[in-house]
């Protein structure tokens, strides 16, 4: 059984074929010329000539990063109906800071409904069916419109978002793509709303981007499941990914971290990635990249995305100068525990020079074989996974243990939806944190679950 990994970067596409034991059968790199996936046929042809039995490929894993603007520009009509459910009207409209390209390509209809919840999950005001009907009739949406629904404190109580989703289906039919913001977890209405809208826009574009890939694979007798890399480095099925494209935009670093750990054979390590004149320093714990919420500029808007925690060092004009080495050393110190330093693994196609000159008296320094394919390998070997982040309000009758159990069950459901086999699912992490400046009944819970391909 083989896996085909396709790692689409900004400048090059890496392809690898490997088995579950990380044995490599084929590696190839091509620079991106037109559409990143246009070279697929050539690559498959080459593999065939090298004697690889393409029909043995059971999974195709694609990690693509930040190609959303391309995708949006190429597509014609993208229309998103943004529904905001809250207690104040006429505040900032959604997509306020978005880049001109996205503003021009995504037609936006904004509808404000009264409703939403307080921080404790109780309703501010009930939804009103007549307000909904009246405003949607006036909106005159085109046939192809998709929906993004955002409600105040939906990570605590998603009820209003779910109700509106039902109303949408009733009014516009079952086929419409609907993004509910609570699934993105972060607190901050505008950010969640922008993420939901971008997701809704992309979900109408992604299917056409991958149409060719599916056809080409079939031509070469590859009947494999297609999986996409998520921002946290876990995989999800293509069918699931088309509903959550925004979760697949930043997977490259997570994949490189995981790949480095696998190649070096170190479950816990600090990783230095060197590519495209940039250095990224991050950490792997028990084989899994260390993640955090980070503010990212996506299409001009700030959004919180759950991606690996990395220190980035820009512009290495001087190659491996003492200054750069010192900065790398300082950055690794950010992750080193106080005692027993972790090994430091160098990967990425430009890592050799720095790895060669980097000396650390206390820690092991490793530059593994296939270092330039770390991202593709990491993607290929990743488990299938899902995560959820919710807020809970503790009260009498709803204790901490109960809400954690509830969250865990939801995360397991997510992992199944992402394509994991139910019996193989394990919980990777359960993180419980209080919310700043909010009474301590409020808990934020993040759970990640993963398993094998179903």
């Amino acid at each position: 059984m083989l896996r085909l990994g396709i790692d689409v970067g900004k400048q090059r596409v890496d392809c690898i074929v490997m088995d579950e034991k990380i044995r490599m059968f084929y590696v190839s790199t091509r620079s991106v010329i037109k559409h990143p996936l246009s070279g697929m046929k050539e690559i498959l042809e080459e593999m065939k000539q090298q004697g690889i039995r393409l029909s043995d490929i059971k999974q195709v894993i694609i990690s693509a990063s930040s190609e959303y603007e391309e995708g949006l520009r190429e597509s014609e009509a993208v229309h998103v109906c943004a529904i905001r459910i809250g207690s104040s009207q006429n505040s900032l409209p959604p997509f306020y800071e978005v880049t001109d390209i996205v503003r021009e390509t995504v037609q936006l209809t904004c509808v404000e409904l009264s409703g939403g919840h307080y921080v404790d999950g109780s309703p501010i005001q009930d939804l009103m069916m007549n307000e909904w009907n009246e405003k949607m009739d006036r909106a005159a949406l085109p046939e192809h419109a998709t929906f993004a629904v955002t409600s105040a404190f939906s990570p605590v109580n998603p009820e209003h978002e779910q109700t509106v989703a039902q109303w949408i289906q009733k009014k516009f039919g079952e086929g419409r793509a609907i993004t509910l913001s609570y699934e993105f977890g972060s607190i901050g209405l505008m950010e969640r709303e922008n993420a939901a809208i971008l997701n809704a826009a992309l979900s109408s574009v992604i299917p056409s981007l991958f149409q060719n890939v599916k056809q080409v694979l079939r031509q070469y007798d590859i009947h494999a499941g297609i999986f996409l890399s998520q921002n946290d480095g876990f995989l999800m099925t293509y069918e699931r990914a088309i509903s959550y494209p925004i979760r697949t935009l930043h997977s490259r670093i997570a994949n490189s971290l995981r790949g480095a750990s696998l190649l070096a054979g170190r479950e816990d390590c600090i990783v230095v990635i060197v590519e495209n004149k940039r250095l990224y320093i991050g950490m792997v714990e028990e084989g899994i990249p260390k993640l955090r919420w980070s503010k990212r500029d996506i299409a001009g808007m700030y959004m919180h995305v759950h991606i690996p925690e990395v220190v980035m060092i820009d512009n290495i004009i001087h190659g491996a100068s003492d200054e750069v080495l010192e900065r790398v050393y300082q950055a690794t110190q950010r992750f080193q525990p106080p005692y027993e330093p972790l090994p430091i693994v160098f990967v990425g196609n430009e890592c050799s020079e720095i790895a060669g000159r980097f000396h650390e008296p206390w820690a092991e320094v490793i530059q593994p074989e296939y270092f330039s394919y770390a991202s593709a390998i990491g993607a290929c070997m990743a488990p299938v996974g899902g995560w959820i982040e919710r807020m809970y309000w503790l009260s009498e009758g709803t204790g901490k243990t109960q809400v954690i159990e509830k969250a865990a069950a939801e995360a397991i459901k997510e992992a199944i939806l992402a394509g994991a086999e139910e019996r193989s699912i394990a919980l990777q992490s359960v993180k419980v944190s209080p919310l700043a400046y909010v009474p301590n009944q409020a808990l934020r819970i993040q759970v990640r679950a993963f398993g094998n391909f179903a």
């Binding site: 809250g86 207690s87 104040s88 009207q89 006429n90 505040s91 900032l92 306020y96 800071e97 939403g116 307080y118 921080v119 501010i124 105040a152 404190f153 607190i187 901050g188 209405l189 505008m190 950010e191 700030y302 220190v311 300082q330 950055a331 110190q333 950010r334 992750f335 080193q336 525990p337 106080p338 209080p434 919310l435 700043a436 400046y437 909010v438 009474p439 301590n440």
Partner: protein, 381 residues
């Protein structure tokens, strides 16, 4: 001095004010955008020196209290601020000639500018804290006997509450208890006073300072050495005075607890670089309160303890604290008005349960240097 606030200045105010938060103040992208939009739609805002306003004019300080986390979810429109301003005017039967700041940190550097833009009024370049504090009675206005009441609070559904009381501490206490019932945050206006009193009781030029800090820090491109240089230069040239580089270290432990909606606890630092082998502890209660090296106190409230991320030069708020982070700690002298005895009654170290009485950061270091018998070298880069 800065005189006209245009749209491009807004992010500089927001960025600079973070350095004056002493770990508190919160942050809000939406408030920044609302302020930019208000200036774009209603025109630039005039920032006036306290002596450029007529003595008989009424000034009303405004702000937002409660949880910024909740405010980012139940979002404001900006008009709540105008509403509280108008309500105080109505209650006192006056007309405001300008707005001023309550605190100069976090989101409340923007709230007066946003109010001013929407209400077409100038902002006076002054505030009542010179940093962030948790309670609205912790101001120089209170220390010099300005009445907090009438205090008006309004939420995003435009529901208002008026608080009348002769006792400022009581008024603050009612407001604090009310804000959670109002849904977690509220715009408020209080301490209405004549220009004459504003001149006597406020800390001058803190808005201009926040703007200058923001401008400098943005040019520093996340290089901690440059950021510290900017802070040293701009603060030395202000009512605050020259900051001290207290230590550089790695956060090895954080103890944190939520008590009555306050984030309190302490963090432990292990010295790095020229501070290797030093053990530090910083106590916090929404803001950083006390900083000590083993048992020796080095900085105490109301002086500002500023914790900077060594990788980016960004200030680290209490809510953002994380283990293993490398940080630099600065001690910034608080403005003289904040160190007066009545002010210390509400913000001095004793109010946080500390056994120490306030000593300025400068004298703590003088004592230490005298003990060592050396002149302290300003080794901050």
């Amino acid at each position: 001095m800065k005189q006209t606030i245009i749209e491009q200045d807004v992010s500089q105010f927001a960025c600079g004010a973070k350095y004056l938060g002493a770990g508190g103040g919160g942050s809000s992208n939406i408030l920044e955008l609302l302020t930019k939009r208000a200036i774009r739609e209603h025109g630039p805002v005039q920032l006036q020196h306290p002596f450029d306003v007529k003595e008989t004019e009424w000034i009303i300080p405004v702000g937002i209290m409660g949880s910024t986390t909740i405010m980012n979810e139940k979002i404001p429109t900006g008009w709540e601020l105008v509403e509280v301003l108008r309500a105080v005017e109505k209650e006192k039967e006056i007309r405001a000639g300008a707005v001023a700041g309550i605190e100069i940190a976090g989101i409340n550097v923007l709230t007066p500018i946003l109010t001013a833009a929407l209400a077409r009024l100038p902002v006076i370049d002054c505030d009542g804290m010179g940093r962030a504090f948790t309670g609205i009675h912790m101001t120089t206005y209170h220390a010099f006997d300005i009445s907090l009441a009438p205090l008006v609070m309004t939420d995003e559904k435009r529901k208002s509450i008026l608080i009348q009381s002769d006792n400022n501490e009581e008024a603050e206490c009612i407001a604090r208890n009310t804000v959670m019932n109002m849904g977690g945050w509220a715009a408020f206006a209080c301490y209405a006073m004549k220009t004459k009193h504003m001149r006597e009781t406020s800390i001058y030029h803190t808005f201009s300072l926040a703007w200058r800090l923001g401008r400098g820090v943005k040019k520093a491109h996340e290089d901690i050495h440059q950021v510290v240089r900017v802070l040293m230069e701009e603060l030395s040239n202000s009512v605050y005075g020259t900051p001290r580089l207290v230590t550089k270290g790695k956060i090895v432990e954080i103890y944190c607890d939520m008590k009555e909606g306050q984030l309190s606890g302490s963090l432990f630092l292990e010295g790095r670089g020229e501070y290797t082998a030093e053990q530090w502890e910083i106590l916090f209660c929404n803001e950083y309160v006390l900083c000590k090296q083993e048992e020796n106190v080095r900085v105490m409230s109301p002086d500002l303890i500023c914790v900077l991320d060594a990788d980016t030069g960004h200030p680290v708020q209490v809510e953002e604290l994380e283990k293993n982070r490398n940080v630099w700690v600065l001690g910034i002298p608080s403005p003289p008005l904040v160190r007066t005895s009545k002010m210390l009654e509400v913000v001095g170290p004793e109010t946080y349960g500390s056994p120490f009485s306030f000593l300025p950061v400068e004298s703590l270091y003088e004592q230490m240097d005298a003990k060592r018998g050396v002149g302290h070298a300003t080794a901050w880069d």
